[in-house]
Structure formats: C-alpha cells, structure tokens
Amino acid sequence: MYTMVLSILHRLSGLYLSACGFLFIGWISAAALGPDAYACATGFFGGLPMRIVLTGALAAFWYHLFAGMRHLAWDAGLGFEKKAARRSGVLVVVLAAAACAATLLLTPAGRFLAGSP
C-alpha cells in the first residue's frame, strides 16, 4: 500500500516536473526576448500562487530524483525485498524533505521562493 503510494507519487512528480519544464522554457524565452518580456514574466512568476507552484517544483524535483535512483537500483536488481523496499522508501522521503528544506532556506532563489528577500 505504502510502496504503491510512493510509486504513484513518482509518476505525479514526474508529470508536475514536465509541466514546470515548460514553464522554465517560457521563462528563459522571455529573458531572451528582452527586459520588457522578462519584466512581464517576473510579474507572473513573482506572485504568491506561482511561488507556491515553484516551491512544489523544488519538492517534486528532489522527490523524483531520489525515488528515481531507487527505481534504478531496483532495475539493477538491488533492494527489491519487501523489507529493503520499505526502508529505502522511508530514506527517499527523508532525503527529499531534507534536500528540499536545505535548498529552500540556503540558496538565494530558494529564499526568494520562501518569501524572504
């Protein structure tokens, strides 16, 4: 049950990151178009709703990265026993939460997302 939830989360975080990848390409395109287009994009991304979306992207990034490594280990035939799978599942969630918190609080852009200049 719990392993299944993590597996679905891997899919959902992947789809979410796909959508955010498109957002990123929109943002970098605005930067390439010039300061006016970029100011428009900043207005869009700087508001509270988008900051929440992007904070979610950061969480999804770390979860998808660690859960993806877990899947790659399974593909290599490692850690597939029930007990090991449960333990690695916990590890993935803990690592993702820690990495997300660290990048949010310790990097300039992370602090921007968290709402402190």
Partner: protein, 116 residues
C-alpha cells in the same frame, strides 16, 4: 505501443539512459539556477551567455525534454486507450518538439546577444 517488436524494451532502456544522464545534469541545473545571485534580467540573460553554460543548457534541455516525453508516453499508454491514445501521444510529441525549438532559439539568442 507502436513500432513493432523490440520497441517496448528499447523504450525502457532509453528511459534508463536519460534517467542516469539527468542525475548530474539536473543537479547542475538546479544549483546553477538557485545559485544565481539575483533573478534580475541582466543576471538571468548572462547565465547562458558563456559557451559552456550554453552547451550544458542545451544538453540538459534536450535530455530533459526527451525524458519528459518518455515518461508522459508511458503514462498515456497506461491510462488512455483506443485511437485517443495515438492522438494524445502525437499531441504530447508536438508540445515537446515546440518546447525544444523555443529553448534552442532562446539559448541561441542569449549566447549571441550576451546580456543585451
């Protein structure tokens, strides 16, 4: 899955290739983005103005969009049936191609124009 025998296992293997490639590329991208001192236009435009950054950005974008398309395709194949499936996959492919094209244009402009 269209493409005849062997295409499903090739798809599976290719997905592992892009997954592994994205580990370093994704981390580079995230820390590069988060490490920008500010997100002012000059800074962001200058981010991709150096040749190595342009190269890494193009590589990351290509592998990211490829991996994204692989994942989206698997999800569509699992949840959408019939002729709608083909249509959905074609649409997703079109979106990804358009995004790749937009990214290539943006990176080229940033590489040539510098922080202008």
């Amino acid at each position: 899955m269209s493409g005849g025998p062997g295409s499903a296992s090739r798809h599976w293997r290719n997905q592992r290739v892009t997954s592994i490639a994205l580990l370093p590329l994704g981390l580079w991208f995230l820390f590069s983005l988060l490490g920008q001192p500010t997100l002012d236009h000059a800074v962001v435009a200058g981010w991709f103005a150096k040749p190595l950054q342009t190269l890494l950005g193009a590589l990351f974008g290509t592998v990211l969009l490829w991996h994204s398309m692989q994942g989206v395709q698997v999800v569509i194949e699992d949840y959408v049936g019939g002729s709608l499936r083909t249509l959905c996959i074609a649409f997703a492919r079109l979106l990804h191609l358009a995004a790749a094209f937009a990214l290539a244009l943006a990176l080229a402009k940033l590489a040539i124009g510098g922080a202008a």
